[in-house]
Subunit: 413 residues, 2 copies
């Protein structure tokens, strides 16, 4: 059987290590020249396939591909574009297969989270229905850490490390000045649906964590802040953007108004800061890490980088071994010392299933993490992933981005 080309695409929110998976896919594919020809990467993710905008990664220098391992963002472009169901938009799936056929693509590597696992499965199914030989492998990636079967998701460990380190450092700052200055410090972190990232802040031992999983109780919260300031002189709070009250209303939607009376998109941190000002009159400061937390490659966890590379390598090896509609999952085989291996997980057991933060990871009072959580999280932030520096700044790969000639009429939605 002659070699088939491969298509790789990045999907959804990027991470500081998604390019490490990309590099691993591209480099591992090169080891199998009899089975895999070129690796094409979608420009801006799956949109690149629909539009027939395919980067030829063989045009990139080997050093550029290696440098992807320390480059944040999505080097080939990612997108938030969810394919509809097969029933609702079969044409879109058929277009994908048409592009794959035109470019002799026999391997589909899709690097993303929950939605893309679902898409990857559907692409595999439609290819089979259409009689087009395709091996579709999902490469896990999401800072949300919510994919099932896998012990963790590449991208999460680095965000966890960022949040834990930042909280620890800011705590040193606040603690040293609390007598005459700021008494309450809030860091707002990502995690709309689950408190995985907020829990990671627990490794820095803040006074309070606000989880989406624990209904916010204003009276209890204010009492806890007061107590922390009385006991320690200050109070450090890690607040998940998904923090919500018992009715499921996000604190971030508490309804601040701009100067024209328009409702403003809020944040959890300013909302609870205002509460603390109103109820306790304490001086506060707050930080919103936003994209910094998921792009901080300079602070990535080595464990996370290792995972990201391993799932990229295994994805290609699974494809070579004839697997289809699977995802390399990270399986923890030991807590102490931390050990792990990669196993193949069927995509129909992954797609559309969200792994939530276990209740036993949250302390009894709802404001901290348990020893079980420390064990789980601690392993994932281990190791400092080196990155090359030049003139005081990290060096990032810059792809040439050579597009393959189109062979098909333009895609019409």
């Amino acid at each position: 059987m002659p070699a088939k080309n491969a298509f790789y695409a990045q999907s959804g929110g990027v991470t500081s290590v998604i390019n490490a998976s990309a590099a691993a896919v591209i480099q591992t594919a090169k080891k199998y020249p009899d089975q895999i020809g070129k690796v094409y990467a979608g420009k801006n993710g799956i949109l690149g396939a629909l539009r027939e905008e395919l980067y030829d990664t063989s045009e990139e220098a080997a050093a550029t591909i290696t440098a992807l391992k320390h480059t944040p963002g999505g080097a080939f472009g990612s997108c938030r574009y969810k394919l509809k169901s097969l029933e609702d938009n079969r044409a879109e799936y058929e277009r994908l297969i048409e592009v794959f056929r035109a470019h002799d693509i026999g391997y589909f590597f899709y690097n993303g989270g929950n939605d893309s696992a679902d898409t990857c499965l559907k692409v595999s199914q439609i290819a089979e229905k259409l009689g087009y030989p395709l091996q579709a492998i999902h490469v896990p990636k999401t800072v949300d850490n919510d994919l099932p079967i896998t012990d963790c998701c590449p991208g999460f460990g680095s965000v966890a490390k960022y949040v834990a380190v930042s909280t620890l450092e800011a705590t040193a700052d606040v603690a040293s000045m609390s007598e005459t200055s700021t008494k309450v410090f809030i860091i707002e972190v990502m995690g709309r649906h689950a408190g995985w990232i907020a829990a990671a802040g627990g490794l820095a031992n803040p006074d309070i964590i606000l989880f989406p999983e624990v209904a916010f109780d204003r009276t209890k919260f204010i009492a806890k802040v007061r107590q922390s300031v009385e006991d320690n002189g200050h109070c450090v709070i890690v607040a998940s953007e998904g923090a919500q009250d018992a009715e499921g209303k996000f604190l971030a939607e508490a309804g601040t108004l701009d100067a024209f009376g328009h409702k403003q998109l809020g944040g959890v941190a300013p909302t609870i800061a205002t509460m603390i000002r109103d109820e306790l009159g304490l001086k506060y400061h707050w930080a919103l890490a936003d994209y910094l937390q998921r792009s901080a490659r300079h602070l990535s966890s080595q464990t996370d980088v290792d995972h990201a590379i391993a799932v990229g390598e295994k994805a290609v090896e699974y494809a070579i071994a004839g697997e289809n509609a699977v995802m390399p999952a990270i399986i923890r085989t030991s807590d102490d010392p931390y050990a792990w291996e990669i196993q193949s997980a069927p995509l129909d057991q992954v797609a559309n299933i969200e792994k939530m933060l276990p209740a036993e990871y949250i302390s009894e009072d709802g404001y901290g993490i348990t020893e079980a959580a420390r064990t789980y999280l601690g392993a994932l932030i281990e190791g400092e992933a080196a990155t090359p520096w030049e003139n005081g700044l990290p060096v990032h790969a810059k792809i040439k981005g050579v597009l393959v000639n189109k062979k098909l009429p333009p895609w019409s939605k």
Copy 2:
């Protein structure tokens, strides 16, 4: 002459390297046992002197003092407490001298910014008037980078590096997703009075920098955002918290109201994000680095750490050499390669003088930095200062904090 004790205090907003100066003062003092007895550190800065709360640093393990060199925050506590003028509160200065006399303190090392340079000078003057032999040396520190004579201020180089690296990393993130997601990213940075920190963001080549020095023009700004998005697909903005309009009104005070109609303490980032939403309808994200930027010791510049240690060492050497009312200033002797030395600067030429961002550091359109700024700033972010790690987190010093027995009646304000 028998050895006299020394008093060291941290003042004002802390930095990621102020403890490196503390360690240098304590370690260098040990080299001169004939002149310097013990080094006492003020608990919470100058308040520690007024209250006679003095940590005996000789009670700390040598390893703890060394570890201060990689510990953010102010290990002995800092404070925002500005002594009044000699005329308004002479008693306060006399109390200081009384405490110094009670504990046989002949050296006063004050580690701070503009206000503390002024206090240090006044303490030196009152000691002289009262005939109390004291050598007062100011140890420079401020992320604001606004002390005169010295080429830069310890603490600034690390914030500059943090802001440049964070902006660079977030740009990679935004650029990779801008087609279908966020088009405008704003990072708000410190600098109420001067744009030094915002200028440092320029090293990452953002599309727009908002300086306090350049009057904000909404129409021109919106046009620039639109143009950046048209040209590059996205727009990255570094906004100084001190950004203001032609009338000197801070953008952060644009007047957002909370749900109860109370005026909310704002931020520049949400204010301009709202503008961009209203005028251009573009999807935006914003980050507020807040204390993270000045406590991020994991990302400190080696140049900055070297400066912080050098000014601590020289402060002690100046004292030994008989100097009084001076500050070790960092003098740049060459741009390429960057070279510097420490020189003694008289405090009366330092106190109450703010060094502003030079106009020639801001590009003609007011939204960027010039080559001169790149040369100046580039040197200060050079080098990555190592820090020890354990279990995935940076290791910080923890002082025992043994207080000296009091000899005086309590301080009454």
